[in-house]
């Protein structure tokens, strides 16, 4: 017994000594002259976390491969300042715990230069502090939550989507003009998506007649739709994700409830809704109002759609061209624009300064907001209405702010893609 004990103590003491030796070789951060993580003379490595599996995969799993396809197109045309972009996509299955792990892997292990277009409010919300501590540029988060527009608190994080408040204000403005005197109600998701959208709607319309909400884990919305019917709502504004938009409209039809539906772009993908509603889709979606900030993937005449469709055919295995594909390409285009603006001597600080300078022009219908004290993405949206099985844009785009500011038409018109489809500095 005592022999074992003595031997054990001896071993422990020896190891402790070794530990103290090891502790002396403490790694202090390297000096200013060190190279930039993820950047070499010929490559830039960036990463993203996306829901390639899990409950959010159905809609969103196509985004990152579209972005990657656009980068490969750029790489084949000489890259950015002679550097080729390597885009590492990792799956987090829309699980925040997994996001924690994979983002650490990207930053600490793969040493990426920046995180691009990380998807999801709950998932990306969890890694903000980690990215901030490691001073990693966190560009173009795939969410409209106000969480990603806090330049004071998270100086390196920038949102991409139009924020939920802004979009709801534009939609409410349309409702106010087009359906005057009608009873307007609200149905939204019970998180910051729903809360922000309600805030935006009520800024323009004043208090709505009735409000209901749902949790994404419960797929029965009959009680809520029934309550809207009972309250006599004539126009219902929705802050719902695509499956729940379809569910709500379908449930209302089953209850024999006819109303005007006005949905957010998050749940307003016409192709997705049609697929979910099946045969009855043309009938149920007739007159459905939604909005968007990117050109329609079905609009073959739009030069941006045309460009991205070609890239999709050549670099993305010619997969179905839909809203998410176009979104992914737009992310890629915007990032290349930021890289061009950051110049040849690429640093993390330089990239963020370039984004804060703003002035990006891209496939969007409205300008982007980026500035020193605004890190949110698009500044407005344009209304679209489904008529006769076709979704078409109405009027001009509108821009507004997240506060009490007015909703104003944006008349400058959309830009056209540069000659080769690659932005220049």
């Amino acid at each position: 017994m005592f022999r074992t004990l003595r031997r054990g103590i001896a071993v422990a003491a020896a190891l402790a000594l070794a530990a103290s030796v090891a502790a002396c070789s403490e790694d202090a951060p390297s000096g200013n002259g060190a190279s930039v993580p993820g950047v070499t003379d010929s490559t830039i490595l960036i990463g993203t976390h996306q829901p390639l599996t899990g409950r959010a995969a159905a809609g969103y799993s196509k985004i990152a491969s579209a972005t990657k396809a656009y980068f490969e197109y750029v790489n084949d045309n000489g890259g950015v300042h002679g550097r080729k972009i390597e885009y590492k996509i990792v799956d987090d299955a829309y699980n925040p715990a997994k996001t924690q792990e994979v983002v650490r892997q990207l930053v600490l292990q793969d040493k990426v230069f920046a995180i691009l277009n990380g998807l999801g409010t709950p998932t990306h919300g969890g890694v903000l502090d980690f990215l901030k501590t490691n001073k990693v540029p966190d560009l173009f988060v795939s969410s409209g939550s106000a969480l990603f527009n806090q330049p004071e608190k998270y100086p390196s994080t920038f949102g991409f989507n139009v924020d939920y408040v802004t979009e709801a204000k534009v939609l409410a403005n349309y409702v106010k003009k087009t359906f005057p005197g009608k009873k307007v109600c609200f149905f939204g998701q019970n998180d910051d998506f729903g809360q922000d959208a309600l805030k935006g709607a009520e800024t323009v319309l004043g208090s709505v007649a009735a409000k209901q909400n749902y949790v994404p884990t419960n797929t029965n919305v009959a009680p809520q739709v029934g309550a809207l019917k009972a309250a006599g709502c004539q126009v219902n504004m929705l802050a719902t994700i695509t499956p729940f938009t379809a569910l709500t409209i379908g449930t209302a039809a089953k209850l024999g409830y006819r109303a005007q539906w006005v949905g957010s772009s998050v749940g307003g993908d016409f192709v997705g809704l049609s697929a979910l509603l099946g045969k009855a889709a043309p009938l149920l979606l007739e007159g459905y109002v939604t909005s968007g900030y990117l050109p329609s993937p079905l609009d073959a005449a739009n030069p941006w759609t045309k460009l991205f469709k070609e890239v999709n055919a050549e670099y993305n295995g010619n997969t179905t061209f839909e809203v998410n594909t176009l979104f992914g390409m737009a992310v890629g285009y915007t990032f290349v624009q930021a890289l061009q603006a950051a110049g040849k001597d690429l640093t993390r600080e330089g990239l963020m300064e370039a984004v804060e300078k703003g002035g990006f022009e891209g496939p969007s219908l409205v300008p982007m907001r980026y500035s020193k004290d605004d890190h949110s993405g698009f500044s407005g949206t344009q209304i679209s209405v489904i008529k006769g099985g076709k979704q078409s844009l109405v009027d001009t785009p509108y821009v507004t702010d997240t506060g009490d500011g007015p909703v104003e038409p944006y008349t400058k018109g959309a830009s056209t893609p540069p000659e080769k489809g690659i932005p220049t500095a």
Binding site: E26, P96, Q100, G126, D129
Partner: protein, 397 residues
């Protein structure tokens, strides 16, 4: 020393009953090895070939010594590896708080729980709420919140355990499955408190300044998680070798015989559940510490099922299986990624494979281990080391 109930009065203080009894019953107290499990198909190991030599002395002291030596080795190791490897090590540590308890429950006591993810969520949410209430700036805040996480999980475990003691096999699995599935529903129903789908994030103190200005946060997290794992392993290895450990096995092997021998069967089952719930609470609390946030998605049904798969893969025969299970849970995804990086697929195939391949590899690994090594990885490794030992003995000097 004969207790009419057959359960030491302080079953949660392991090692106390052991020292006096060790010499008398050293043979069955040595390696925890189920002779014939009541969990069919899960544990079917060949009976002990050659009983290990009988060791005398204080088990707790011996285990403590081993733990200290391993601890020192691990601390040295954390200095040698990159922050990301430290984070993975921390994740292994957090799993090592949950899995031994689950092995105790399933391997030693024969109760199946698919609800341990919910118990982890309980620990994790408690940490988030307590950290928030205290402010989270000081190190003692963390200690308090982790301990209260363990306490709430233990209480919940006691409640579930009481129900579990009345259920058997598939009924128990079903009931605990319901508990696991209810986590997201609870968080969205009381979203004012639990933050709904988005969950909660909280502040946490950085590593103590005395460790140095540039001490990586990941290494600090690894230390915390491994400390938790060490304490859990130490307590549980003592527990399974104590009188309580023997009653656990007696209840598993034959409830009627056990109750005829004076063992209060239901009480032993509830206690086993409580002990494993405490481990799950600690593991969950440490997971929250690693992520500095909690959300229902992280503690869903998949987690509970993964825990079960991990102990089956690792081996239910002894607590060592937990180590293999924890390693498998952390390493499988990177391994699957590395395996696929060697191939180049067309974009379309790649889109299909992305994300789903690790699941397929996990399933395949499970099938292979179940068919070739019913004792899990632990059984495989100990068989291999035994072979090596025999070879070594035969070789000429």
């Amino acid at each position: 020393m004969v207790d009419t109930n057959g359960v030491p009065s302080s079953a949660t203080a392991p090692g106390d009953a052991d020292s006096t009894e060790n010499t008398a019953s050293a043979e069955n107290t040595e390696t925890p090895r189920p002779a014939a499990s009541t969990v069919p198909g899960l544990v079917r190991r060949a009976g002990g070939a050659g009983a290990p030599p009988v060791r005398r002395g204080n088990t707790l002291l011996r285990h403590l010594l081993i733990a200290v030596v391993i601890g020192v080795v691990v601390v040295i190791a954390t200095y040698q590896i990159t922050p990301f490897r430290n984070y993975q090590l921390a994740t292994i540590g957090a799993y090592l708080c949950v899995l031994p308890g689950l092995i105790l429950l399933t391997g030693f006591n024969g109760q199946i729980s698919l609800g341990h993810g919910a118990l982890m969520a309980c620990g994790a949410y408690t940490v988030a709420l307590v950290q928030d209430a205290l402010g989270g700036e000081a190190q003692w805040h963390l200690l308090v919140s982790v301990l209260s996480g363990v306490a709430t999980a233990t209480v919940l475990g006691a409640v579930i355990g009481v129900a579990a003691a009345r259920l058997h096999g598939p009924y128990l699995a079903g009931a605990t499955l319901a508990v696991a599935a209810s986590v997201p529903a609870v968080t969205t129903t009381f979203d004012g408190l639990f933050g709904g789908d988005a969950g909660l994030s909280f502040a946490m103190a950085p590593a103590p300044e005395s460790l140095g200005l540039y001490f990586p946060f990941e290494r600090w997290q690894a230390w915390l998680a491994l400390l938790g794992a060490g304490v859990t392993m130490l307590l549980l290895t003592n527990l399974v070798r104590s009188r309580f450990g023997r009653t656990l096995r007696a209840v598993r092997d034959d409830e009627v015989a056990a109750s005829l021998a004076g063992i209060h069967v239901a009480r032993v089952q509830v206690l086993a559940f409580v002990v494993s719930a405490a481990g799950a609470g600690l593991g969950g609390a440490l997971f929250a510490v690693l992520a500095q946030s909690v959300s229902p998605g992280a503690y869903g049904l998949t987690l509970s099922l993964n825990l079960m798969l991990a102990i089956v893969l690792g081996g239910l025969g002894g607590l060592r299986g937990a180590l293999w299970g924890a390693i498998v849970l952390v390493a499988l995804q990177p391994l699957a990624d590395a395996a696929t990086r060697g191939f180049s697929f067309s974009p379309e195939v790649q889109q299909r494979l992305d994300g789903t391949l690790p699941l397929a590899v996990f399933g395949l690994a499970l099938i292979v281990v179940m068919t070739t090594a019913p004792g899990g990885i632990d059984g495989l490794v100990s068989r291999a080391t035994r072979r090596l030992g025999q070879l070594g003995r035969r070789s000429p000097r």
